[in-house]
Symmetry: D2
Subunit: 137 residues, 4 copies
């Protein structure tokens, strides 16, 4: 399956006094890439909630930090499904430095589809799942 890529520029807001991107902020970058990956498939999360009554929430994350990103770096954030269940998706995400393609950070994000009212897991709507899977092929 192909991975989706989304560019992210590092601004001062993303860095900390260590001079590098603060570790929690890579999760923001990964979420931006997931949002844009869904958008590239025609899926808007606010419409998903309003029209189909479902939201995706993060149930677990696993992140390995290899090399630090610095202020002004241009990054590429990838997103690629590596597992799917009836109610969940596991997405592998990489943070690459644009200029030399160095792998800075790698993560796995497990998201669950919830009924937006009851906040309980529910099956990913069939049409939605099809769009996501086909977009990956």
């Amino acid at each position: 399956m192909k991975a989706f890529h989304w560019p992210v520029r590092v601004y001062y807001e993303d860095t900390d006094a260590g001079g590098v991107v603060y570790h929690a902020n890579y999760l923001n970058f990964m979420e931006r890439a997931r949002t844009e990956w869904l958008r590239s498939l025609g899926i808007e999360q606010d419409e998903l909630r309003a029209q189909q009554g479902v939201i995706f929430v993060v149930r677990a994350v696993q992140v390995d930090y290899r090399l630090p990103a610095m202020f002004n770096d241009l990054l590429q954030i990838s997103a690629r499904i590596v597992a799917q269940g009836k109610t969940s998706l596991t997405i592998e995400q990489q943070v690459l430095r644009e200029n030399d393609q160095a792998l800075l950070c790698q993560g796995e994000v497990h998201v669950v589809c919830l009924n937006a009212e009851k906040f309980r897991p529910c099956a990913i709507p069939a049409g939605l799942l099809k769009t996501i899977i086909q977009g990956e092929e």
Copy 2:
């Protein structure tokens, strides 16, 4: 009128690659102090919304940055009403460094009371206003 004070410790999350607290984050510190100042008067903002149907939103801010706060600094954030209208309050806030009481940052925050459903300005409930004003005396 007396000012309320709330301690805030500077963590890595608050700093940037310049080695100091990132300018936008002082607004977070000020909001924490406003929240705790209301709590000290017995006002919980989630109950305010649920029971009286109103929320306070920030309509304008003005901040002067004098000296930088650094990682690990212990700060004191003050909140003091300097003006009140039917639907709004203006709160003066200072960020002091605990160990020498240096004034690092000073701001004025204008908040407006909104009907939580319609998102339109409405009068600050009389009982609430009384509690706030008396708490300041």
Copy 3:
């Protein structure tokens, strides 16, 4: 003078439980636009520090919040110099909603040029100032 514009998409990280963009985060958006505006003129802030020994820091901000930005909104953030001194620049910034050009937020940001070692105000290097002023014409 022409204003520079930079697109910013609103992600979950930018919003709060009120359902709208958290007020401090507009300062992040404005900083991204200032960074990209300088970049569009060929000015990289990390090179500026390494080669000319100067940094720009925010000395004061003034922001009026008019209408809330929501999750998924596409915004345009402008930057335009409205005043300049020997050591400082005042930049007017607007946050517009892309689809209807509604003005959501307006700010004025006062930045000061500092010697990166001593953290003291210094004159904006002549070549740099010329580049900035000409870029605005």
Copy 4:
């Protein structure tokens, strides 16, 4: 071994438009608890850097999100060493809701000791390690 606990209040800055704490922000809470746990043992990270030339950086995290924290919740964040190497520590961290002790979130954070100049792994200074281990007993 005993776990250290640190209280964290949820403010608007921590929440997102889903009405709950944004997933990346639990990493901030965990870092605050690690910082305060070291401080409770007499270890200040800025002194560690200045005097011993070492810093701790996050090399990997693993987080399970079980129940959402909401605006105004008072949380307790724990920190407890579960593994140690020559250059690294693995810390288990839990996020508990104060009023009913519900486990909202659980994580494992792997930190590495780096030479602050070269940014390369180095042995945790013996005195430091002793202080940390004894503090846990």
